[in-house]
Symmetry: C2
Subunit: 251 residues, 2 copies
C-alpha cells in the first residue's frame, strides 16, 4: 500500500469528523502531523479534490465540500450506484440460461461464436421502482454453477468477486439514445416507445480478460447524465449520472 493511498484514507476519516464548509488543517500542519512530506500530502489531497470531497481556496485554506448528489461516472455497478444515492437497489431475475455466444456477443467478449456463455436478464430497481433492464453475457467457464438465488437483489460484481475471485478493473461503455419496445415498456412500467438510454459495456480484469458484455436499458424519464465542462484541457469532463425526480422534467 503506497503512502499516498494510506494518506488519502486517513484524510477521509478526518473529513468524516468535520462539517461541510469547515477547513481541514493547513498542508504544512497536516504533513508534519501525519509524518509525511508536504508533496505527498498534496498528492493525496489532489486526489480528494478531484473526487469532490475537498475544495481548495488559495490563501485561505482547504475546505470540506458539499457532498455531490452523484459521483462521477466510474466503473460501478448498478447496486453501488444506487447505494451512493441512498436508495435501495433491487433486482429481479427474468432469465438465466446458457447458450452460445453468436457473432456479436462473441466479438464483444473476444471468444468464439460457438463458445458457451451465460445469459442473464435482470430488471433493476431503485426503492422498488423499475429503473433499468440489464442483459448480461458472461463466458460460461467463468461462472460455473451460477443460480438464480445468487443473483437476487445482489450486485453481480460483488458476486463474481466473492464467489469466483474475478475483479473488474476497466471497461468501455457506449451510450446512445433509443426508445423502448413493447416488452421493455411493460417491464419498466413506461409507455410504449419511451425515450431511454442504451448503455453497452464490456468489462475486463486487470489481466485484460474480458469478463462481461452488458446491454442496459435505462428509463430516460428518470436517468440523466450531467457533465461539468471545463476549458482546461488537462481536466477531463466529469460526467455524472443523475436520477431525475418525476417532477423535475418540464421542457
Amino acid at each position: 500500500m503506497s503512502k499516498q493511498v494510506l494518506t488519502r484514507q486517513r484524510v477521509l476519516e478526518l473529513i468524516d469528523q468535520l462539517q461541510v464548509g469547515e477547513a481541514i488543517p493547513s498542508e504544512r500542519r497536516l504533513s508534519t502531523d501525519l509524518g509525511i512530506s508536504r508533496l505527498t500530502l498534496r498528492a493525496a489531497l489532489d486526489d480528494l479534490v478531484r473526487d469532490g470531497y475537498l475544495e481548495r481556496r488559495h490563501g485561505s485554506g482547504t475546505f470540506v465540500s458539499e457532498p455531490k448528489i452523484a459521483q462521477q461516472l466510474t466503473l460501478t455497478s448498478f447496486s453501488e450506484d444506487m447505494r451512493r444515492r441512498g436508495m435501495t437497489a433491487g433486482s429481479r431475475t427474468i432469465e438465466l440460461r446458457e447458450t452460445h455466444a453468436g457473432a456479436a456477443v462473441g466479438r464483444a467478449l473476444k471468444v468464439s461464436p460457438d463458445a458457451r456463455v451465460v445469459l442473464i436478464r435482470r430488471l433493476r430497481m431503485a426503492d422498488g421502482e423499475p429503473m433499468a433492464l440489464e442483459t448480461l453475457h458472461v463466458p460460461a467457464a467463468l461462472v460455473p454453477d451460477l443460480t438464480r438465488e445468487m443473483l437476487e437483489d445482489a450486485s453481480f460484481y460483488e458476486l463474481i468477486e466473492r464467489r469466483y475471485g474475478v475483479v473488474i478493473a476497466s471497461g468501455m461503455q457506449s451510450i446512445e439514445p433509443t426508445v423502448t419496445n413493447e416488452e421493455e415498456s411493460k417491464l419498466l412500467s413506461v409507455p410504449l416507445h419511451s425515450p431511454a438510454f442504451l448503455f453497452e459495456r464490456t468489462s475486463r480484469t486487470a489481466a485484460g480478460e474480458t469478463v462481461e458484455f452488458v446491454r442496459s436499458l435505462y428509463r430516460g424519464d428518470r436517468y440523466r447524465l450531467v457533465a461539468e465542462l471545463s476549458q482546461r484541457r488537462d481536466r477531463p469532463a466529469l460526467v455524472t449520472p443523475v436520477l431525475a425526480a418525476a417532477a423535475d422534467r418540464e421542457t
Copy 2:
C-alpha cells in the same frame, strides 16, 4: 505562464516530430535537457498521458500513443468538434429574433424573466448532412447587432470571441434521451419519433457570467457517446462523442 505549461508545449512539439509508437527520451534525460527538475517534467508528462498523447510503460519508457479518433468531451463547439473529425461543419440559421427570457431560460441564464434575450435556431450539418438542431439563448446585451450573415456556417464561440470579446471558460451540460417531434424530424431528415440525444448546456465566462443556454438535439443514429472506464478513482471517465457510420448499427 507556469513552467509546467511551457514544458507541456515543448514536449508536444517534440511528439510532433516522432512516429506513433516511438519512445520519447527518458525522464531523467529530458529533464536535464530542458533544464527543469524531473518532478516538473513528470507533471507535464502526466498531463499529456491524461490527454492521450503519451503512454507510459514502467521499466521500458514513455511512448507516443495512437492518436484518438475523438478527443474527450470538452467544452467545444460543434464546429470545432467536426473539424477534429475531419468533416466540414455547416450551419443554416432557421430563426433569429429577440424576445424576453421567460421563466425557464431566465433561470438558466441567471437573468430576470423580463430580460431581453436573443433566440437563435440553427441546423448544424456535417459534410452537408443534418446532424443536430441547436436552440441558443443569449442575453441580448451581450451580442448587439447580431445578424444572420455572421452566423452562417460559423462557430458561435469564435464569433462572440472575435466580435464581442466574450470567451467561454466553463459550463455544465446535461444529457438525456428523447425522440424527435414532427418539426425536428423534418429538419434533421429522420423518421418521426426517432431516438435522439438532448443536450442542455449553460456556459460561463471565467468571471462567472452566464453567456448562453443551449438546447441541442443530436440525431441518435449518427451520434453516440463512448466512455472509457477505469476502476481507479483518481481518473475520471473519459467520455468521447463518436459519429456512427450509417452501417455501424446492428443491434
